[in-house]
Symmetry: C2
Subunit: 371 residues, 2 copies
DNA sequence: ATACTATGCTTTACCGTTAAAGTCAACTAA
DNA sequence: TTAGTTGACTTTAACGGTAAAGCATAGTAT
């Protein structure tokens, strides 16, 4: 292994001090023209690249952000990560990616690992409020920034947040089903976190406002994974009289529910209408395109990265912590019965990108994604 | 900001030397019982956590792997990353995730960045063979491990590889279309990299073996993105007589092609059959479920992580570099005309996970994903 | 009693970099 | 002239940790 090029070596070969080399590389102005040129030449000759680890040790900044999300397989989080990456990479920050697999213990382990690695900040979609609040609260005093995305449990923790309005998500989805004339509307609950509870709250609000009857058996425990939706729908199908519409806590659960419906020999949306939330990738191209409530993951990711970087940056913005809300909006596709057929028009406003043109309901952020 | 707890502080409060603390924490056996206990107690009391940056500097190991993939939005790569994460995380390694956005310049910048950060190894799905071969070759001499995944351009570069048999991918897809009785079979080429060229080669081989006529206009330039497939299909649709089947270089391109076909008022598979490659997430649930050639991304990711970690680990396995091949297999769904209807049976062998049961063709690795 | 060997620590040096505080010659101001 | 200022470096210390070598003290072999 060729010995790595260090400032020491450059200094040695040139007969100057290491500090001189350091100063040249950091553009300090107290180095003479000639020396500067000689150093720069040597740097180029040896292809020197600074050792970021050593630099991190002295500067006490790693220029690295930790990202902890619950599910790498869910396009929703991946799209947020893509947004994060755009901003972070442009500003010279690296992303240390971790998955908690929806497991609080792994989440804790990953946060601890990130802390040991001295990341400058953490972007977290937290599994729940259960055990890790203490850890998160301590991050601030350790000089580690924190932005919570998507899920904002841990109300005690002081940090920036980038979330959507989950009550509104539930209202939009449910009102839409009501407006489709559905009478027996069920809800597949998410996991027991405020984030999901707010969607359920929006569900109930919409029913109340429209004076639509609800029944306790129509609200069933589910979760955020496809398998959760599948199981929950199985339970719902056993309830008589049968429901004619379902708002699932998110898209994977909605897809699981659709599978259960098909398996029972029923049709979507004729027999049962479905609305999800989160606008999963390819949701517009599904066998029955999935109606959903959408908000920009790209924007959510970018906003989170910006907030975090501004807070941990050179001028640590002493402003109060912000909660940025990405507004949700309804995307009507076939699964809710809101479109006559799969070959109908767009469910959304003007979308002229080639991949979205004509015939096929386009994905809400197809533009954003190609930008 | 509370002053961070360091070994120095622990040593100070206990009146022992820093080295003593270090030895206790590293389980060296030359520290007495009593002292060891006192140190451990203090460590627990102060909640000490070692500074990984400092440790990396002396040990010259960061326990971090860099991952560079061309497209964060493509489920294919994300699933590989999930596989990587499983192994890396279990072995105490972190993943520094970068996207090259299919841009050789950004790929280069990211690899340089990873090198500065002293990652122990890099897992790369390289954009092309154009300009970065030099950089990759140098990695070895810098003590940075390299595993190329999915795309194995850069034949000169000595490293481990985990790829699929791309010629076979093309043959499987094309033979299947031939067996469906299709006569005018087109191919939407991938980008100009060997990886894609091999799929085209498999396409040609299959035609030759089955003595099926081919025409030059039926092989069109495309790419790996949805928009590429869309544009390529537009061109194909202008060719008369019209083709009755298409093998697209990968699934996103196949989906783009389907969009173009629908937009032209034609049906899949009745008018044109489609087969892709890569088994994109939700491909089984599309409006017309997509026939594809699949291989396990989970296995690919895990294998890559294992190879890399074994090579850079304590006993640097002096064996020759390996090329692990993940075998591809055909997944027949509706888009190729291989199934009578969307409510047909599984296209794959026994799959009894709840989310896959009955009625819906399951995804090839649905088991693997839930493991 | 003398030399040898553990045992249990501490000292010193180093990883590669930056920041703060010298140093020293040449130049300027009074 | 004499002190004061620049300009262009160098020296020293530090970041937080690990490894190698050093050094008492006590115990064992002869």
């Amino acid at each position: 292994m060729a010995s790595t090029t260090t400032m020491k070596r450059i200094a040695g070969e040139l007969g100057v001090s290491i500090t001189t080399v350091s100063k040249v590389l950091n553009n300090r102005d107290d180095i003479g023209h000639a020396t500067r040129a000689r150093v720069l030449a040597k740097v180029a000759e040896l292809g020197y690249q600074p050792n970021a680890v050593a630099r991190s040790l002295t500067l006490r900044r790693t220029h690295t952000l930790g990202v902890v999300i619950p599910d790498l397989m869910h396009s929703f989080f991946v799209e947020i990560v893509a947004g994060l990456e755009t901003i972070a990479s442009a500003r010279g920050y690296g992303l240390l990616l971790c998955s908690s697999n929806e497991d609080p213990a792994k989440e804790r382990a990953e946060i601890d690992m990130l802390r040991q690695r001295q990341v400058d900040g953490i972007i977290l979609a937290s599994v729940n409020a259960s055990g890790n609040t203490d850890l998160l609260q301590r991050l601030g005093s350790l000089g580690i920034g924190l932005v919570m995305i998507d899920r904002d449990d841990h109300p005690v923790v002081k940090c920036d947040r980038v979330v959507t309005d989950d009550v509104e998500v539930g209202r939009l989805a449910t009102s839409h089903l009501i407006e489709q004339g559905r009478k027996a509307i069920a809800h597949i609950l998410g996991p027991p976190i405020v984030h999901a509870k707010r969607r359920a709250e929006g569900f109930r609000q919409a029913l109340r406002e429209h004076k639509v009857r609800s029944r306790a058996e129509w609200i069933v425990r589910g979760g955020f994974m496809e398998a959760d939706g599948y199981r929950a729908m199985k339970k719902l199908l056993a309830v008589k009289p049968r429901v004619d519409a379902v708002f699932a806590a998110n898209d994977p659960a909605a897809i699981g529910a659709m599978k259960a419906i098909w398996e029972a020999g029923l049709r979507v949306p004729e027999d049962i209408a479905i609305v999800g939330a989160g606008d999963i990738a390819l949701g517009d191209l599904l066998r029955v395109p999935l109606s959903t409530v959408s908000w920009s993951r790209d924007q959510q990711g970018k906003e989170a990265a910006r907030l975090l970087l501004d807070r941990i940056g050179p001028n640590p913005s002493p402003e109060k912590f912000q909660s940025v809300v990405i507004p949700p909006r309804l995307i009507v596709r076939l699964s809710s019965g809101g479109l006559e057929s799969t070959t109908d028009k767009h469910g959304t406003e003007g979308c002229d990108a080639p991949v979205c043109a004509g015939g096929v309901a386009c994905r809400a952020d197809c533009h954003a994604r190609r930008e």
